[in-house]
Symmetry: C2
Subunit: 231 residues, 2 copies
Amino acid sequence: MSQARERGIPDATVARLPLYLRALNGLAERGTATVSSEDLAVAAGVNSAKLRKDLSHLGSYGTRGVGYDVQYLIYQISRELGLTQDWAVAIVGVGNLGRALANYGGFVSRGFRVAALFDADRSVVGERLVGMAVDHIDALESVIEDRGVSIVVIATPGAAAQQVADRVIAAGITSILNFAPVVLTVPDGVDVRKVDLSTELQILAFHEQRKADRDTGSPMMAGDWAEVMDA
Amino acid sequence: MSQARERGIPDATVARLPLYLRALNGLAERGTATVSSEDLAVAAGVNSAKLRKDLSHLGSYGTRGVGYDVQYLIYQISRELGLTQDWAVAIVGVGNLGRALANYGGFVSRGFRVAALFDADRSVVGERLVGMAVDHIDALESVIEDRGVSIVVIATPGAAAQQVADRVIAAGITSILNFAPVVLTVPDGVDVRKVDLSTELQILAFHEQRKADRDTGSPMMAGDWAEVMDA
DNA sequence: ACATGTGAATCCATTCACAGCA
DNA sequence: TGCTGTGAATGGATTCACATGT
């Protein structure tokens, strides 16, 4: 039975666990004690076979004929995701986006804590934000060390991002959430996840265009690319 | 030859096209005229076989023995993504995040234009932001119609998101970029992409925990979940 | 000689469908 | 009976490796 917990949970599964956790928290708030894979799947927006397979990678936490205990499953998923400890997060780049991230309540949900803010602009350094003074980027390494930061969010302009990544990695960081629109090059063992607004918009535009083409029946002319390109 | 353009490009490929486009723009700025799949793959952070397979879905735009013409490939990918027209984007929810998105220059890169801003808070309505007055959410349908909005970004609190989605969909929108931490339920034919900060952090925490466990060799005790859960 | 474009092989994820258990 | 947990079947995506064309 269950080869489950011995080695690696599939990436696709890990990526959905936060989703399940959120759905479970919603159920818990409404006082639901027990939930079937079918109901939980609906709440999380996935199909129930996938949900059961995903949960089976963690272990056998359900009861046949009954379903899953909501509180128990919340705990198991939280533990698996490492949310029973709290993680010190640093945000590098306190521009529009960095500020929004620092203030965004849901962002620093249970398990995470903004422990440091950095910027290169001296006129921003010292400003207080969510009860925390912005440090100058010069202090990056020492502050990361002192405050036990283990996850770094990069919210700088694209041009600065790789350099910031290099420095935090040298300082021992192995988990980076990158909002800058560049591909970061990092050594093995460092995890980078990226959030890329313009990429997401472009993917939507692609599908939107497809829908429009299908409706009008217009065949999307080949066109002379040269005239569009120069400037 | 090439079944390419006749029917659907794989989703995984579509999701990478913006990446290639960005890498190509970087090369173009440095005056590079021609690039091999190997070099472009490095710039985009993928492997070259994947890159070639991806591009082959668009057509045969390379030259054997030579590589790809940078400008030409930029044009072809742009066209495929629908970036040769410009898309009117509305942002719903002008809080911290909505403001950051509106101001984020790279966000509204070539092909996209912020055409409307909405908020439910009367004290925000009328405020000007990126040369545009914030409209009250009551005007959602009429403004979307009037300004030809085709992509809506939801940056509201979670509780309002589904309601906003229902309304914009009723108004004819079929492309939504959702920043609110909820699973949106939408009819077939509507595309939703979500950007979820806390999910990304949780995925990083999972891997970070794995690394820590591997280093310490600590087996992650089973623990009594009850004591962690009550409150 | 060289780099693309692509069948074939492989790997991973999803879905099906049912055995096993409460 | 009802719902979980999971082998088996399916479907996609990635990678390999080379035939093809310049």
